[in-house]
């Protein structure tokens, strides 16, 4: 990803952090007034990325399939601190593990 690109080009890690999608999230105009949503947004992004890494979670057109969308919704509510049904298959394992 962009962070990896920075590493590949020899930049230091602090610079890399500013270019990763999760770092970009913190600098977005949309979240400037809601800093409390930055961490949930990062978690949601990580989980969406985790779901997209599995081909089984995608439709033929490349969108998230129904079950994966439900998992993303459940995870979103959890990250927002709202009641959401506990689901063993929505664990955060590997959400940020792969590039």
């Amino acid at each position: 990803m962009l962070a990896s690109a920075a590493v590949a080009s020899g930049d230091d890690s602090s610079k890399a952090d500013t270019t990763s999608p999760e770092a970009v999230l913190a600098s977005l105009e949309s979240l400037r007034a809601r800093p409390d949503l930055i961490e949930p947004a990062r978690g949601i992004f990580r989980f969406a990325q985790y779901l997209l890494d599995e081909e089984e979670n995608l439709t033929r057109t490349g969108n998230l399939a129904g079950t994966a969308r439900e998992q993303l919704r459940t995870r979103t509510l959890e990250l927002l601190g709202l009641d959401a049904p506990s689901r063993s298959d929505t664990s955060d394992d590997g959400a940020g593990g792969e590039r």
């Binding site: 990803m1 962009l2 990896s4 690109a5 590493v7 590949a8 080009s9 270019t19 999608p21 970009v24 999230l25 977005l28 105009e29 949309s30 979240l31 007034a33 809601r34 949503l37 949930p40 947004a41 949601i44 992004f45 969406a48 990325q49 779901l51 997209l52 890494d53 081909e55 490349g62 969108n63 998230l64 969308r69 993303l72 919704r73 979103t76 927002l80 709202l82 590997g94 593990g97 792969e98 590039r99």
Partner: protein, 702 residues
């Protein structure tokens, strides 16, 4: 970096092993020799599938029942990683295969200095299907070991034949996934959808809030009404307590009548007792017997006579006893004589020779007759005496009987006199007792009368009346009057109590109904408040989701923009390098952020055109290759590159130059490059794929 690739029964390979190292490895061979199969083998080993091949059975060597690929890699941790994968065709199966995989890791890093007693080939299992590990676990382990995921492999590692020029119209969607753009888009879509659902839910909020306000007003009204009823009930309670106090006062006054009643009862009892004592005294006086009037000497004379009479009676009894004794002696004598006479007469009848039974002497009959005669005479005399004595005894018995009658009569007269005296004494005693009782009753009556007077004085009545009957009447009248007054007061209190009870029952019924209504309204209010809270929370969540959706929308645009900029920059740089340096033919190169389609401004054209529409296949290939190789630079340095026919369509000189320049780009430590052209003049490892009949073989060229 791949160190070794071994294929067994894979495509047309029987059992081939290829040693690889850093730098460029050219894989050369004629068309259809089996070059691309090597890339398939790598892809198969890493991910258990090959793009474009739905059935793995099609990858098996003809008539083979199993195939396998072993990859020995150098991981990012410096260790040797050995990945073995095989698929077996079960009996009677043509397409269905059963897969196995094993990933091992060397115990020591490859560059670690040799140690004595340590086996450098020692490896440990990381994951294996034999241990029930799943494909996901292998993918995760490989991602950590090599830094390669399936999508990254498709986007940045494996540049497929024919895809190089197609990329000019936009890379595969995997690039967006790898860049995080797809995640941002998917997240934005979901945030919007979730926000929309909650906004729809929260759209009822104004209505529910209005309902809540109305319910709160109703509740306040109900509470005020309850307060008013409570105040009325409290007022009523005060009044009822006054009734209780007044009733207690009446009871107290009734209790205050008790001494008066007791005094009157005592007076009445004294009156009755006095009347009874008076009657009893009069009865006793009337029934008293006259006093017996005998002289004191008469009983003495009577006693003397009685004693003389008793002495005479005793003497007569003694005389008669003496005569009776004499008679008994005479009778005994007479009996003896009669017995003697009888025995002698028996002897006489017995004849001569009879003997006396007492002395045993022979009896003389004549003598016996004489004796009998003498005895008979004596007996006659004795009988005369006996008769005289009998007559005397009879006379004396009469005398005794007469004396006895006299004694009895005298005793009876004496007893009568004593009884009369006793009766008189008892009558006197009774009379005395009744006189005393009457006197006591008179005293009690007087005292009771005195006790009554203060009550009369207190009641304002005349108390100087001597007659107890009138006193009792006066006192009774005052008591009745007081009782009547108390009865009237009690009746009034009871009536007021009844009215108050009715009022209380009505108020309490009203309060119970109102309280029930208020409770019900409170429950409804609580439910409505909860609904409002839920809806407000839904609205708040919707607002947060909207912010998140907007942020992800912004994120995907930023990521695309940044990626497009970075890719354009890298592609332009690589393109210039691939051209051999010098001045670029392109005035400008940029990527459309929406599709990553490359847009170029050739200097000779002077305007921006899609790269895919650039004239000349060589131009398009160079641009496509530059873009494909730039992806690796942007998304991350790949552990190795797999380029399949990147120079297809170029003339010999350009091809050789391009291959050399690709090797010099320094994109990664290892490049595997497939070409069907000769590359003998380009530096690097050269492997030739040779097809012999149905078999493909590998030959490493010097």
């Amino acid at each position: 970096m791949i160190l070794t690739l071994r294929l067994k029964s894979f495509r047309r390979y029987g059992d081939e092993t290829l040693e690889l190292g850093p730098g460029v490895s050219f894989i050369e061979g004629d068309n259809n020799a089996g070059k691309t199969s090597l890339f398939y083998a790598i892809e198969y080993a890493l991910f258990g599938r090959v793009t474009g091949h739905k059935s793995l059975a099609a990858l098996m060597a003809p008539k083979a029942k199993a195939m396998g690929v072993e990859l020995v890699l150098r991981g990012v941790d410096g260790h040797r990683w050995r990945l073995q994968r095989m698929h077996v065709l079960p009996p009677r199966s043509r397409k269905t295969t059963i897969g196995h995989f094993t990933l091992k890791r060397s115990a020591r890093p490859l560059d670690a200095p040799a140690e004595e007693g340590v086996d450098p080939s020692e490896e440990t299992y990381v994951v294996s299907s034999d241990f029930a590990d799943r494909e996901e676990a292998l993918a995760l382990a490989l991602s950590k070991a090599l830094g390669v995921s399936r999508r990254y492999f498709d986007v940045a590692v494996h540049i497929r034949q024919g895809a190089i020029t197609q990329i000019l119209e936009g890379p595969a969607r995997e690039l967006d996934i790898v860049l995080g753009v797809t995640a941002a888009v998917a997240a934005a879509d979901e945030m919007r959808a979730m926000a929309l659902e909650r906004e729809k839910e929260a759209s009822q909020l104004p209505l529910v809030e209005e309902t809540l306000r109305a319910m709160e007003r109703d509740q306040e009204g109900g509470a005020a009404e309850l307060t008013r009823l409570d105040a009325e009930l409290a007022e009523l309670s005060v009044k009822e307590r006054s009734f209780v106090d007044e009733a207690a006062s009446v009871r107290l006054e009734e209790a205050g009548l008790a001494p008066r009643l007791a005094a009157r009862d005592a007076l009445d009892r004294a009156r009755q007792e006095h009347a009874r004592a008076k009657t009893a005294l009069e009865d006793a006086r009337a029934a008293a017997p006259p006093e017996p009037g005998s002289a004191p000497s008469e009983p003495v004379q009577d006693d003397r006579e009685r004693e003389a009479r008793e002495a005479r009676l005793e003497a007569a009894r003694e005389a008669r006893a003496a005569r009776e004794k004499e008679q008994r002696a005479l009778d005994a004598r007479r009996g003896d004589l009669a017995a003697r006479i009888g025995r002698r007469e028996e002897h006489a009848h017995a004849g001569a020779g009879a003997r006396c039974e007492s002395c045993g002497q022979p009896i003389d009959a004549a003598l016996a007759a004489r004796e009998i005669e003498g005895w008979r005479a004596e007996l006659a005399t004795l009988e005369g005496l006996s008769d005289a004595l009998t007559a005397e005894l009879a006379e004396r018995s009469d005398t005794i009987a007469s004396l006895r009658d006299e004694v009895r009569r005298e005793a009876e007269a004496r007893a009568r006199r004593e009884a009369e005296a006793e009766r008189f004494a008892r009558a006197r005693e009774l009379l005395s007792g009744r006189e005393q009782a009457f006197a006591r009753s008179e005293q009690a009556l007087s005292k009771a009368s005195e006790d009554v007077r203060p009550f009369l004085v207190a009641a304002g009545e005349a108390a100087d009346v001597a007659d107890p009957d009138r006193l009792s009447e006066s006192l009774g009248a005052t008591i009745d009057e007081a009782r009547e007054a108390l009865r009237d007061r009690r009746a009034r209190i009871d009536a007021e109590r009844a009215v108050s009870g009715g009022t209380r029952a009505r108020l309490e019924a009203q309060r119970a109904m109102l309280s029930q209504r208020v409770s019900q309204a409170e429950r409804e209010l609580a439910r409505t408040r909860s609904s409002v809270e839920t809806l407000r929370e839904a609205a708040a969540v919707a607002a947060r989701l909207r912010v998140l959706g907007a942020s992800f929308q912004e994120l995907q645009a930023v990521l695309r923009e940044r990626a497009a900029t970075a890719l354009a920059k890298e592609a332009l740089e690589i393109h210039r390098a691939l051209q051999g340096g010098g001045e670029s033919e392109l005035g400008e190169l940029r990527l459309d952020p929406e599709s990553y389609a490359m847009l170029v401004t050739p200097k000779d054209v002077g305007r921006e055109v899609p790269a895919s529409a650039a004239q000349g296949g060589g131009h398009r290939l160079l641009l496509g290759l530059a873009l494909a190789l730039s992806i690796g630079r942007v998304v991350g340095r790949p552990p190795f590159l797999m380029l399949d026919e990147p120079t297809y369509g170029l003339d010999r000189e350009r091809r050789r130059a391009l291959l050399a320049r690709i090797a010099e780009l320094g994109l990664t430590d290892q490049i595997l490059l497939i070409t069907h052209h000769e590359t003998e003049n380009v530096g690097g490892k050269h492997v030739r794929v040779v097809r012999k009949g149905k078999q493909s073989r590998l030959e490493v060229l010097a």
